[in-house]
């Protein structure tokens, strides 16, 4: 079934396109449509194309960039702190949850990694690539955690 009903502000979406709820209302000013704006900003090692759902936010991008750099240096706890800061700004940022899952995975905290990856997958919206990566990471974390 393909069903997209825009119900006032209460948004349901389901079916082939994947599923997401689009946040509307306060706190979402000047939502930039970044449909085809290419890959993750200056992050060549990222296997993920930019989420079509994600809004452009210089603050979140900056923190995510710092977190990735710190993770690459093995500074996992600091990377996590940056990501948590970014999540306070964008609590539904699927990429942020996914990156946090990776950090925890690197640290050997597989239970947390699986939880964060699940969250990333649920928030992935119609970014199928991100959803797939998150699902794989969750599976890997659960396997490791056994």
């Amino acid at each position: 079934m393909r069903f997209v009903a825009l119900v006032g502000i209460w948004v349901f979406c389901a079916g082939l396109a994947g599923c997401s709820a689009v946040p509307i209302g306060m706190g979402e000013p000047e939502e930039a449509s970044s449909k085809d704006q290419g890959a993750e900003l200056g992050e060549p090692e990222s296997p993920l194309p930019q989420s079509r759902q994600r809004q452009s936010s210089p603050a979140v991008d900056a923190l995510l960039g710092q977190a990735r750099a710190l993770r690459a240096e093995g500074q996992h706890e600091l990377a996590a702190v940056k990501l948590e800061r970014a999540l306070r700004i964008e609590p539904r940022g699927a990429e942020l949850w996914l990156e946090l899952a990776r950090v925890r995975y690197d640290m050997g905290d597989f239970a947390a990694a699986a939880q964060f990856a699940d969250r990333a997958r649920r928030l992935a919206g119609n970014d199928d690539d991100l959803a797939r990566v998150a699902e794989q990471l969750a599976l890997a974390a659960r396997t490791q955690g056994l």
Binding site: F12, A14, C19, G27, K82
Partner: protein, 741 residues
């Protein structure tokens, strides 16, 4: 012998008092720092308020750290350097432009280059002492302005460095004055004596009292050096009364009277504070400006006499107006309810001895702006409710960030500055209908129900184990017959909740409460199904937060980080979560709670929210209207409100009339993201008839959309069989435009 015992006792008493509040080793407690970035909901007045609270000074150009300049839609500022957990932040010049309540542009100060994010130094909100948490502002010895010490000694105790606790020259002079007048007029107390006096807060002026204080002063001087005594004095001395709260210490005095940190005061302002030591109400600069000015100028003269100021400087300082804060700054540093949560978290996780370490820095989750709004929402609403139901109402409010599970604000009573009974933690009250989402989630988890399942609003009698019978009633004493589960939840019908709960099993309900974060065992009595379980607002916030995160449990936290005095990491509370329920099932309950706000018990508040703002929530009311509860959340924030009476007498308020209204006062003003329901795998949106629960063409009769499991099969509403989906979507929109628009 007796005298010896007496002195020993005095020694022990005064040493304990002194050791209990060594002001040179407190841990500092900070609010969360304000982060500024483009797109953030923040107005120019909001930012200015935060800057003033932090003691930033307004200038025409903000080039120095700790200053700002304001135009109508922009603020220029330079931050103070601060060492955060994730790195040192230097002083940063910045230019912030606002538009419609949002930050529209953020650039650096000099070059106007875009800046991704700017973090202000965090507000110091209190101090932690070995064994005690007090949200006092404390000045460590190195932060005391030398000029303050000079002024203090010059006017209050010139021979402080020489005497051993008592100044006999001064005493002799005072005795002479008293003898002449025939009464106790002049004190002649040293700083040490004044310190002793302030520990025991007695205004008794008997000879016996004086002698006791004198002996204690001598004992203190034997044990401690002058520097420790002076620092204790600076942090302890009484500098004014703000309602029920005493202002102790120069740091608090400075913030209260000038709205600024002590270190930023000018000479005449330090002199004014010192002037007030002699009699804070007699020399109150607001009520008695002339007197205060005279005494201040006397202090300035004494500063000049001691060589700290030149004659020219002294004259200049005397010409200055006080430069008081517009209103006494009280909210800036007094959050007793929140501090209790900080203490609770620390005591839970650390040995007391570890916290006594010198100068720990504790970074909390407190959001001063949301705290301010919560305080005013609760106090304002209680005051207006009392016009209807009489005096004596009390209340509590707690606000969390849903995903981070951080406590952003905690208000322990209608007078938030009163450091007494903290209702956020200590008021354990039956939660009434707040239980219903747990009843229905347990029912959905059993696999036998979904939101459209028919439930019976009809009388029910439950056999209790002791051969008694329980026949609960609806709030309106009516029976509405068969209805879909979503309506029973939205309209908070009691009888369907009891029926569904009994069919599901009460233990399943208490299990849900526990996995959602209630850290207590509950006995599964049937009466639990109508909320005969006492919980604190904090506990309610914990279990509802798990709804707000679609079934992820995260322990609520009030502390993020702890560092040592140099900023080196000591401990951190990382983000964690545990999915404890199926997200799709929780989403269905949340849809019911959203329906409660649109059509059910919460609807009275919805029109007051910003247009397009969706929230979910539940009212709770207990027998004879003793307790008025509301718990509700957006995508970003959750708040729980309780209103009632401390003596547990009926308050005359339903959940909707009391707590919901206060909650609405907060959320009507709070920038927050609208709630959205995630219909990921396993749910589909379906239109049903709100009365019958049958699948229906939207707009054909009284229809509402609900999320249902993919495998849920509904019979069609006769005469309203759903048509093709394209038409269905369009008609849904039309329907809502007519209905809502």
């Amino acid at each position: 012998m007796a005298a010896g015992l007496g002195v020993w006792h005095l020694d022990r008493t005064i040493t304990r008092a002194f050791e209990g509040r060594r002001w040179d080793v407190p841990a500092h407690v900070f609010a969360q720092p304000l982060e500024i970035y483009e797109g953030r909901a923040l107005s120019a007045p909001d930012l200015e308020r935060a800057l003033v609270q932090l003691g930033y000074r307004k200038r025409s150009r903000a080039t120095e750290p700790g200053t700002y300049a304001r135009s109508r839609n922009a603020i220029e500022l330079t931050t103070r350097p601060f060492r955060f957990w994730d790195g040192e932040a230097g002083a940063q010049g910045a230019f912030v432009r606002f538009s419609n309540g949002y930050v529209s542009r953020l650039t650096d100060g000099a070059q106007r280059q875009p800046l991704a994010i700017l973090r202000l130094d965090p507000l110091l909100v209190g101090s932690l002492f070995p064994g005690v948490v007090e949200d006092r502002l404390v000045t460590p010895p190195e932060a005391v302005p030398p000029l303050l010490v000079t002024a203090l000694l010059a006017i209050e105790d010139r021979r402080f460095e020489e005497h051993h606790g008592l100044d006999f020259k001064v005493i002799a002079r005072a005795a002479w004055v008293n003898l002449k007048s025939g009464e106790l007029r002049q004190g002649g107390s040293t700083l040490t004596q004044q310190l002793v006096k302030s520990y025991f807060l007695s205004n008794e002026r008997t000879i016996r009292r004086k002698l006791t204080e004198a002996v204690m002063a001598l004992l203190l001087e034997r044990r401690y050096d002058k520097a420790s005594l002076l620092n204790a004095y600076i942090n302890e001395i009484f500098l004014g009364q703000d309602g029920p709260r005493a202002i102790h210490g120069f740091a608090m005095g400075s913030r209260y009277h000038f709205g600024r940190p002590l270190g930023e005061l000018e000479a005449h302002q330090l002199a004014l504070l010192v002037a007030m030591v002699k009699g804070p109400s007699y020399y109150d600069p607001r009520r008695h400006p002339q007197r205060a000015r005279q005494r201040r100028d006397q202090v300035i003269d004494a500063m000049q006499a001691s060589g700290a100021l030149s004659a020219h400087q002294a004259q200049q300082q005397k010409r200055q107006d006080f430069g008081l804060a517009e209103k006494p700054v009280r909210g800036a540093s007094y959050y007793p309810a929140f501090m209790t949560l900080v203490r609770q978290q620390l005591v839970r996780d650390f040995a007391r001895a570890d916290l006594a370490g010198e100068g720990l820095q504790i970074f909390t989750t407190l959001d001063p702006e949301i705290q301010r709004r919560a305080e005013s929402a609760l106090a304002g609403r209680i005051a207006s409710l009392e016009q209807g139901v009489g005096e004596g109402l009390q209340g509590a409010m707690i606000v969390t960030s849903t995903d981070g599970a951080e406590v952003l604000a905690a208000v322990g009573g209608r007078d938030p500055a009163f450091d007494g009974f903290n209702r956020v933690l200590d008021a354990q009250r039956p939660i009434g209908s707040l239980i219903k989402p747990f009843v229905y989630l347990a029912a959905l988890e059993s696999g036998r129900y979904h939101l459209a399942s028919p439930v019976e609003d009809a009388s029910v009698t439950v056999a209790l184990p002791d051969a008694q019978q329980w026949s609960p009633k609806n709030y309106d004493d009516q029976f509405l017959g068969t209805m879909p589960l979503v309506r029973a939840l939205a309209e908070s019908r009691n009888l369907p909740a009891v029926r569904v709960g009994m069919a599901t099993g009460v233990e399943r309900v208490t299990d849900v409460l526990q996995k959602f974060g209630l850290a207590r065992e509950l006995t599964p009595y049937p009466s639990v199904l109508l909320g005969a379980v006492a919980m604190s607002p904090f506990e309610v916030a914990q279990v509802y937060n798990s709804f707000a995160t679609s079934g992820a449990f995260t322990p609520l936290k009030a502390v993020r980080f702890i560092t040592d005095a140099r900023g080196e990491p000591v401990s951190r509370y990382p983000l964690e979560l545990k999915q404890v329920a199926d997200a799709a099932q929780v989403t269905q309950v949340n849809a019911g709670l959203l329906m409660a706000m649109r059509r059910g018990t919460g609807r009275s508040v919805r029109q007051r929210l910003t247009s397009g703002m969706e929230v979910a929530g539940k009212t709770g009311t207990t027998d004879e209207l003793r307790d008025s509860w509301f718990a509700g959340f957006s995508a970003e924030h959750l708040a729980v409100v309780w209103i009632g009476r401390d003596d547990n007498q009926p308050a005359g308020l339903s959940g909707a009339a009391g707590a919901l209204a206060a909650w609405g006062d907060l959320f009507a003003q709070l920038p927050s993201r609208s709630l959205t329901l995630d219909l990921d795998g396993g749910l589909r949106a379906t239109w049903i008839n709100y009365q019958s629960g049958l699948e229906s063409e939207p707009g054909c009769g009284d229809t509402v959309p609900v999320p249902l499991p993919l495998d849920a099969e509904l019979a069609p509403e006769p005469g309203c069989e759903p048509g093709n989906e394209r038409g269905l979507g369009e008609r849904a929109l039309d329907w809502f435009r007519n209905k809502i628009g």
